[in-house]
Amino acid sequence: MDVRQELVKLAESKPELAYLVRESLEAVDRSGTLLEIEGARLAILGKKGRVSEIFKHLSEVPAEDRPEIGRVANMLRRYVEAELARKSEELKESDAEAMQKRQALDVTLPGRRAPVGRKHLLTQVIEEVTSIFISLGYWIESGPEAELDYYNFEALNTPAYHPSRSLLDTFYIMKNEPDKNSPDDVLLRTHTSPVQVRVMESRTPPLYVVSPGKAYRREAIDATHTAMFYQVEGFAVDRGIHMGHLKGTLEVVARKLFGSERRVRFRPDFFPFTEPSAEVDVSCHVCEGKGCALCKGIGWLEILGCGMIDPNVFEYVGYDPEEYTGFAFGMGIERIAMLKYGIEDIRLFYENDVRFLRQF
């Protein structure tokens, strides 16, 4: 027989208890919230509660009944305590469940993102290239974009009447005579190589320098030409620098930029300010050299021009070509970016459509 049945049975036999016990059990049964449970606890077990009432009036019942009534009252107290505790525990559990349910999220909805900016793709490529050189022990130098003919052409061993030294191909800011080259002509530099001359003029070797910057050519604008473009120039001048160093350095750079499994080749070419000169090709990363649209079926991508610094350039800056040798190279940043990302139109870089910028 369980406690509750026993209580009911005992209470029936003791009419003076029956009412109190029934009332108490009903109060327990009725309480469905934590508040009601607390109310029931006070009403039954509190200082002025029903169980206390029983004990308070114990002196008024016959002495032989007192042990039995005391036992029933204690039984009722223990029962009510346990029952209310159980109920309140149950209630708390289901409350937390409901709460959790209320706070559950649709975790599949998109996150709220802070607007993210981007560095321009060209900035990213410049940083990539310069960081490779910095890890090889180079530093960065810059020079003016509005430059003297002397630094842009003359001291770089460019012959008089060279086609690039004309009003047709180069932007001039000041030209002394329209048909004649003068070292004091002021122009927009056509490459970043003048920095070579400026640095060599003002410092002594060893020199390990990269110089990123804008350059300008008076070209009709189309998918592969803009009047303004970005170059990274680099050069090393030291005792004992030879063409193997040029090859090794640029192989490292080409593979860092296009992948460690790339092949790199050096083809003879001509520039007025280097000799021997070379064009550097990297095996096409799209077709692995088999030939595709990017490499126009050749399997190779031309990425930069380079060479050993011409002794005449050393003469201009007062270095002894017998003591010092060096190499120099220049690469077009747009071209590197176009090849890396398969971009077909150079104008995209300068249109600055946000949908383009956001992709990188």
Binding site: G117, G137, L207, R218, A227, A236, G244, K247, R265, R267
Partner: protein
């Protein structure tokens, strides 16, 4: 240059497959851009004979040709300028394949209401040359209806190669043959010359005088008498076509043929049209006129070299012949000119007059001064063979000051020092011998350079030759032993990177715009006359599409980017650019270049989210970006003061200053400026000079220890006059805050019913703490009272929520 493999084989034995040969040439400096297999995939193109040309009923520029294709007459609609009755052209029949155009088959088409039963094709479409100016014309003998591949014997391989400017000798079949011989070790065959001089002696039939031997060091002439001008034989026409030249007649074709073969430009004069049969090489008289072969009248200056007879110029020396002495069908006696001109003189003339020809492009780079006799002889022999004329006995060879051969000392060890190789001396000697150099073999090699190698003057030039023929790919790769002592970025360079780091991290897109702008951009920006922004750097020769001055401000560039994006439907913009602006320098100095950073905001903010985060950007968003940039650059004292930049809307512009310098401005763009740049909406723009910001950076600042004791946070709301600059309130709190004040932050600006008219309420959150102990309520109260007292004194401020204060102070 286009090199025909079939022709090349006349001068050197070729045992390697054509793609291997192309690779060899490319890897030794003659870059082969394309290998063209002639006639490959070309189908359905025949020789068509134009019987009649009629006008097109519906188009002025089109005509209708009635064409015999060998079996039937076809109507062909054609717009080419060189379409003529009686001539023969390459005709593509319906179903033809032209691989140079596309891999699809051709169909007949109706053009302006007339059905064209086929189409004439250009040389470029056939793939036999680069010509797109007209349709491909065939000689008179070409058999009508025959497949074009047969008619032109299109089974050759053409190398389209790029010759570097230092190698004029390679602008000829012989030059390329020499390279091939050196690379493959095969023997070189010189062209055949078996001239038999059956004519009268040349002396008495022609005279040559050089007035200026500095500009024309050598002039060799030959004379042919009794020539019959006609078409060249097909084999010569074919070779000329393969090389990209247009056959004209047997005399002119021979000059072009020998030019292509030997690299020596030649000119043929009608001897009987030369006054007193005399050639005078002289500088032009100032203002002298000549009509060149292209029919243009040209006025000369006194530095242009001309070939003249006794009375008038008959050719622009080395550039183009004159119309007066041109070889025509009536010509019988021919004088062949084979000269050597000074390169810069030719370059100057061709540049001044804007004419570049096969001849001038060779002369200007330097031809072989010892090759004039051979070329004249070769041409004379070919002309007599092809035209039936006789060669006059002997030649005229005016060469008053023979140019001495070049001899260069070469140190074999220097080769290896510079290349990083271990090439043995005898290998060096071998390579040089293959390139036709004569060598005196001592410790230092004495190398005598052949006269056609005009590019070889110094030891380094020979070292390059050795590297080229040895092979760049055999040079072992290495890295230099040392880097520089200065390796790495400077502090300034790292700070510069922080600008782009900070702004892109704050959600801005970096853009790159042109360094050019137009003067009218400054008018659009309402820049007053005399403003610094009008110290312009002007281009002498701008391009129409870029603008005529260098930018002094980045704002126009940014507004153009905004306009472009808005037109494409992208309206929420947060952009920045970092770049140079240019101001006119002092006389005799270079322009002044300054780094600038600009920001543009427009449209809504927070559109990456959802659930109501979006709102229009405003001035304070822009200022917050600048303040964060300031923090990234560790600039302590950046001041914002009400400004009046004309491009900004009045009352919305702040000038930014650091120390003594104004570094720029920010604010809301004046609506008139927005209109002038064709953009609608509110634009918030900042332009700051970077150098003063970087200079003011305290990048090495010391760290502040963290407080171990709890801080006390208090809010106060200060009511001041509407006109008072809010920053002065914050500054005052900060200045008078005492040692315990840690931070002051504005959290509200309020106008409303509780605030008297003409006043505003600024609410600040203050934080007090001590590094030594927990502050008592009393201590904080004292601090706060002092702050409040100063605010009352300085600004007559009232403190909200302290009505009792009013009583006390009045």
């Amino acid at each position: 240059m286009r090199v025909s493999l079939e022709w090349l084989k006349d001068y050197v034995d070729i045992a390697v497959p054509s793609n291997e040969l192309a690779e060899l040439l490319s890897m030794s400096g003659s870059s082969v851009d394309r290998v063209i297999e002639e006639g490959k995939g070309l189908e359905g193109v025949v020789v068509g004979h134009v019987v009649e040309v009629r006008p097109h009923p519906n188009a002025d520029k089109l005509r209708i040709a009635i064409v015999d294709d060998g079996s039937t007459m076809r109507k062909i609609v054609c717009g080419a300028p060189n379409l003529k009755e009686g001539k023969k052209y390459a005709l593509a029949l319906p179903g033809a394949r032209l691989p140079s155009v596309s891999d699809k088959t051709m169909h007949s088409a109706t053009i302006r209401g007339v059905k064209s039963e086929g189409m004439f094709t250009s040389g470029a479409e056939l793939g036999v040359n680069e010509d797109t100016s007209g349709i491909f014309e065939l000689g008179r003998e070409a058999p009508v209806g025959v497949d074009i591949r047969k008619a032109l014997s299109l089974e050759d391989v053409i190398f389209d190669l790029e010759v570097t400017p230092n190698r004029p000798d390679c602008m000829s079949m012989m030059g390329i043959a020499r390279e091939v011989a050196a690379l493959t070790g095969k023997t070189l065959h010189l062209p055949q010359v078996e001239v038999s001089e059956k004519g009268p002696p040349i002396d008495g039939n022609a005279r040559v005088m050089i007035n200026d031997s500095a500009v024309c060091p050598r002039y060799t002439a030959r004379v042919i008498k009794g020539a019959k001008v006609a078409d060249s034989p097909l084999w010569m026409q074919r070779r000329l076509l393969a090389a990209g030249a247009r056959p004209i007649n047997n005399i002119v074709d021979v000059t072009n043929y020998v030019l292509l073969e030997l690299g020596q430009p030649l000119h043929a004069f009608d001897l009987n049209l030369l006054g007193e049969k005399t050639i005078v090489v002289r500088l032009a008289h100032h203002g002298e006129l000549i009509t060149t072969l292209d029919g243009v009248d040209r006025q000369l200056d006194d530095q242009s070299l001309v070939i003249a007879d006794t009375s008038k110029p008959v050719a622009l020396a080395g550039v183009m012949g004159g119309g007066d002495s041109e070889v025509t069908e009536r010509t019988s006696d021919v004088l062949i000119e084979s000269a050597y001109f000074e390169p810069t003189s030719i370059l100057r003339t061709s540049k001044r007059l804007g004419i570049r020809t096969e001849a001038s492009s060779r002369f200007e780079r330097g031809t072989d001064h010892e090759g004039t006799k051979l070329a004249a002889e070769r041409a004379a022999w070919l002309m007599s063979e092809l035209s039936g004329g006789v060669v006059a006995a002997g030649d005229i060879d005016v060469y008053p000051n023979p140019i001495s051969p070049v001899s260069i000392d070469l140190r074999p060890e220097r080769v290896n020092q510079l290349l990083g190789t271990q090439i043995a001396k005898n290998e060096t000697v071998e390579i040089l011998k293959k390139l036709e150099m004569e060598i005196e073999d001592n410790d230092v090699l004495k190398v005598r350079v052949p006269s056609f190698r005009r590019d070889l003057e110094r030891e380094i030039d020979l070292i390059e030759e050795i590297a080229r023929i040895h092979g760049y790919w055999k040079i072992p790769s290495a890295l230099p032993a040392g880097g520089g002592m200065d390796a790495g970025l400077t502090i300034g360079q790292r700070l510069e990177e922080r600008v782009t780091d900070s702004l892109s991290a704050q959600g801005l897109m970096e853009v790159w715009t042109d360094s050019f702008m137009r003067v009218e951009d400054l008018d659009r920006m309402r820049v007053p006359q005399g403003d610094r922004l009008r110290d312009l750097v002007t281009l002498v020769n701008p391009l129409a599409e870029t603008g005529e001055v260098m930018r002094t401000t980045i704002v126009p560039g940014l507004l153009r980017v905004a306009a472009r994006n808005i037109n494409r439907g992208i309206k929420d913009l947060a952009l920045f650019e970092q770049g140079r602006v240019f101001f006119a320098g002092e006389p005799g100095e270079l322009p002044v270049e300054r780094q600038c950073v600009d920001i543009l905001l427009s449209g809504e903010k927070g559109t990456y989210g959802w659930g109501g985060d979006e709102r229009e950007v405003d001035y304070y968003d822009l200022k917050g970006l600048v303040e964060n940039l300031r923090a990234a650059l560790k600039v302590k004292d950046l001041r914002f003061e009400a400004g009046d930049c004309p491009c900004m809307m009045p009352g919305t512009c702040a000038e930014v200053a650091v120390g003594e310098h104004t570094v720029g401005y920010l604010g809301r763009l004046h609506p008139e400026v927005a209109d002038a740049f064709h953009v609608a909406g509110e634009f918030y723009i900042a332009e700051l000079a970077l150098e003063p910001l970087l200079d003011a950076s305290e990048a090495g600042h010391e760290y502040r220890p963290l407080g171990r004791f709890p801080s006390v946070k208090l809010d106060i709301a200060v009511v001041v006059d509407e006109e008072l600059a809010g920053s002065s309130v914050g500054d005052s709190i900060y200045r008078n805050g005492g040692e315990f004040l840690q931070s002051v932050r504005l959290f509200d600006l309020y106008h409303g019913p509780q605030i008297p008219h003409g006043k505003k309420s600024l609410a600040y959150a203050l934080e007090f703490a001590s590094t030594e102990r927990t502050l008592t309520d009393e201590e904080t109260r004292v601090e706060l009272e002092r702050i409040i007292d100063t605010l009352r004194e300085e600004f007559g401020a009232q403190i909200r929520g302290r009505e009792q204060d009013q009583g006390e102070s009045t």
